[in-house]
């Protein structure tokens, strides 16, 4: 550390709770008052509640710092300031989340109807139409990506935890970590570059999207499965070997069942990560307005690309397109949140009894 500095002793006097509450009240009153006056004077349009809350929080932090500085001394004041700033940072970070979910609900609910879930955009100009084709496409492509990624991911994790030694295992661990950081659009370009060599530059089909998404999904599956397998106590493996069970059966019958809850959770979280990916699908899958159940031919619609195209190319009745975009976004958020929630539930329910 730096040179020893004997700190000033903290003062015995303290700010009382009622004083702090009073400070909070005063700063809220002042901040809301100022914004109220601004509105009344017509300088700002409408009452900006977010700014008012933010201003009162900052005012409170500063006021309590000054008061603490006078009453409690420099060190306690710094402590209060840090606490205040850190708490403010957390609250500020919640603002975009709340605002985003609120906006998606308000704008998405008007078209969150039966028609949206029962029709495609075929021959639709202006109002009406829906996202069924996009929902089907998203489900098919995500399913295909999961089928590709999960076996590879789990087997790699098994290799790393149970078999891998030396340089190869180290290299795989390192590159799995690096792979986590591949930008999604590069995964899309890779899938395109791969298939364009075989099928020509105009190639657009669903399975290409699944390959691109697998590139993004595999490292996540490997990482989470690896962590879970590492948690399985070695005593279980040794007990199984002592009974003469071969290694592979020990893994299949003892290690994996013990860790299955965590593995499923990891897979679901990785699905929730890729299901909202737009960029790779935009490149290799393209967009279509009608139903296409066939992964292996022609363009397909997917929910994220649906949201993007509805917003990016609005037709004559712009509001209808924006409404559909928001409904698509709302459906996407709901799917992702549901996946997250179920994943957490699964990990709770399937946790081995000793570890619960």
């Amino acid at each position: 550390m730096s040179a020893l500095v004997v700190p000033a002793p903290t003062s015995a006097r303290q700010l009382s709770k009622p004083t702090l509450w009073l400070t909070a009240g005063v700063s809220a009153f002042v901040a809301f008052g100022v914004f109220g006056v601004l509105m009344a004077a017509g300088i700002s349009e409408g009452f900006n509640i977010v700014a008012a809350v933010f201003a009162s929080a900052i005012l409170f932090v500063l006021l309590s710092y000054v008061m603490s500085r006078i009453v409690e001394g420099r060190r306690k004041a710094a402590d209060r300031l840090a606490t205040g700033l850190v708490t403010t940072a957390f609250i500020v970070a919640l603002l975009p989340l709340i605002s985003l979910i609120w906006t998606a609900l308000v704008n998405g609910l008007p078209r969150f109807d039966a028609l949206f879930f029962s029709s495609s955009m075929r021959n639709v100009v202006g109002e009406g139409g829906g996202g069924l084709h996009a929902i089907i496409g998203t489900l098919e492509i995500t399913l295909a990506a999961t089928i590709i990624s999960v076996p590879i991911g789990i087997m790699t994790a098994i290799y790393l935890v149970e078999y891998g030694k030396g340089r190869l295992a180290k290299a795989i661990t390192f590159f799995v970590d690096v792979m986590t950081g591949i930008p999604s659009i590069v995964a899309g370009l890779f899938a395109f570059a791969l298939f364009a060599i075989f099928f020509g530059p105009g190639i657009r089909f669903g399975i290409g999207g699944a390959v691109a998404l697998s590139i993004l999904m595999i490292p996540v599956v490997v990482r989470s499965t690896e962590e879970m397998l590492k948690l399985v106590p070695n005593e279980l493996r040794e007990a199984s070997y002592a009974l003469g069970v071969p290694k592979w059966l020990t893994i299949v019958k003892i290690v994996i069942p013990t860790a299955i809850g965590g593995i499923i959770t990891g897979v679901m979280l990785s699905i929730s990560r890729i299901i909202g990916e737009t960029a790779p699908l935009l490149i290799i899958v393209g967009m279509s307005t009608s139903m296409n159940y066939n992964l292996f031919s022609d363009r397909m619609a997917t929910l994220p690309v649906f949201v993007y195209t509805q917003y990016a190319s609005q037709g004559s009745d712009a509001q209808a397109y924006i409404d559909r975009a928001w409904t698509g976004a709302l459906v996407l958020i709901l799917i992702v949140m549901a996946l997250n929630l179920i994943a957490r539930l699964v990990s709770k329910l399937l946790a081995p009894k000793g570890l619960r």
Binding site: P7, R75, A78, A82, T83, L85, V86, T88, A89, A93, S99, T103, N107, G153, M155, T156, Y159, L160, E162, A171, I172, F175, D177, V178, M179, T180, G181, I182, P183, S184, I185, V186, L189, F190, F192, A193, L194, P201, I215, G244, V245, P246, W248, L249, G276, E277, T278, A279, L282, I283, V307, Y308, Y311, W326, A329, L332, I333, V336, M337, N340
Partner: protein
């Protein structure tokens, strides 16, 4: 369970065979990952070679490939750096709040709430950026340009829609916030208990304890978390593509309607209409993005791995 165990002990030979098959297939799966990463590099290189080798007169209206790509690289790095500058203080603050300030019982729940931000798809962030954020910050931008316009970053004329690079940086910051927060939070929690208690026992306040015990311990972790966040911000596509009104320029001004765009956003916007050499040029820019993020991520991972070796935490 017991029956199967007996079966396998009796039939020893098939067990050995199973062992071989199983270990081979897991080895193949592991090697496949290396092969895939190599394939990504090789196929991108193969498809971008025409762009590198082409006569400069054919690329980008006769100006050549590098004139085209350098503003994009600048935009990518600039937007990511801005996003990082906004996100980092908040992420460290939030991580400290969850690990050391919030009540113990609430801490995990609060962590989940921040993780929810990571679950929101980027296209939704883009939509939110255009419809909510850009109009909300536009008056503030106008005020900045009017009052602080002499400062080069805030030079006018102000964007009328609020869809400037600063708005993009804010959206990106929100998107990388959960990643940096999650990693730094883990590292803050790994601070040896004894260090913290020793600091408190010497009479340090909580903030002083964090300054002398937690932050020095966590510094390498914070650096690598920052770089992982940077990697994510560099490659983020849709939010940038939707919010920014793009143009290929180099400019540091934050609030104008003419903004440098990023590699990823440029690919997403132009790829559907690209043809012939245009496709190769876009893939070549993608290769450059791939190399940049690969370098950033490898560096971050090396910092993490080096640290793991001599920390007592594991």
């Amino acid at each position: 369970m017991t029956i199967e165990v007996q079966e396998s002990t009796q039939a020893k030979a098939p067990g050995r065979l199973g062992d071989k098959v199983f270990s081979r297939s897991s080895l193949i799966a592991g090697s496949l990952i290396l092969a895939v990463l190599a394939a990504v590099a090789i196929f991108l290189l193969a498809q971008s070679l025409p762009a590198f080798l082409a006569d400069p007169a054919d690329v980008n209206d006769g100006q050549g490939f590098w004139v085209y790509v350098i503003p994009l690289v600048f935009g990518t790095v600039w937007a990511a750096a801005l996003a990082l500058a906004i996100a980092l203080p908040f992420a460290i603050g939030i991580a400290l709040f969850i690990s050391h300030f919030a009540p113990r019982k609430l801490a995990q729940g609060l962590g989940y709430v921040i993780d929810l931000l990571a679950a929101v798809p980027s296209v939704v962030f883009g939509l939110w950026g255009i419809t909510v954020l850009a109009p909300a910050v536009q008056p503030f931008y106008t005020w900045l340009v009017d009052n602080l316009g002499w400062f080069p970053l805030f030079a006018g004329p102000v964007s009328g829609t609020g869809r400037s690079i600063l708005t993009v940086a804010v959206v990106l910051a929100v998107m990388i916030l959960p990643i940096i927060t999650a990693l730094t939070r883990e590292i803050f929690l790994q601070t040896p208990r004894l260090h913290e208690e020793a600091a408190l026992a010497l009479g340090a306040t909580r903030w002083e304890m964090i300054k002398v015990a937690v932050l020095p311990f966590a510094r390498p972790g914070i650096i690598s978390a920052t770089m992982l966040g940077l990697g994510r911000a560099l490659g983020e596509t849709m939010a940038v593509a939707m919010v920014l009104s793009p143009s290929v320029i180099i400019s540091f001004a934050l609030l104008q309607s003419q903004n440098p765009t990023t590699i990823a956003a440029n690919i997403a916007l132009n790829f559907p209409e690209a043809h012939d050499l245009g496709v190769n040029v876009l893939i070549a820019t993608g290769l450059i993005l791939f190399i940049i993020t690969l370098l950033v991520n490898s560096l971050a991972r090396m910092v993490i791995n080096r640290r793991k070796a001599f920390s007592g935490a594991n």
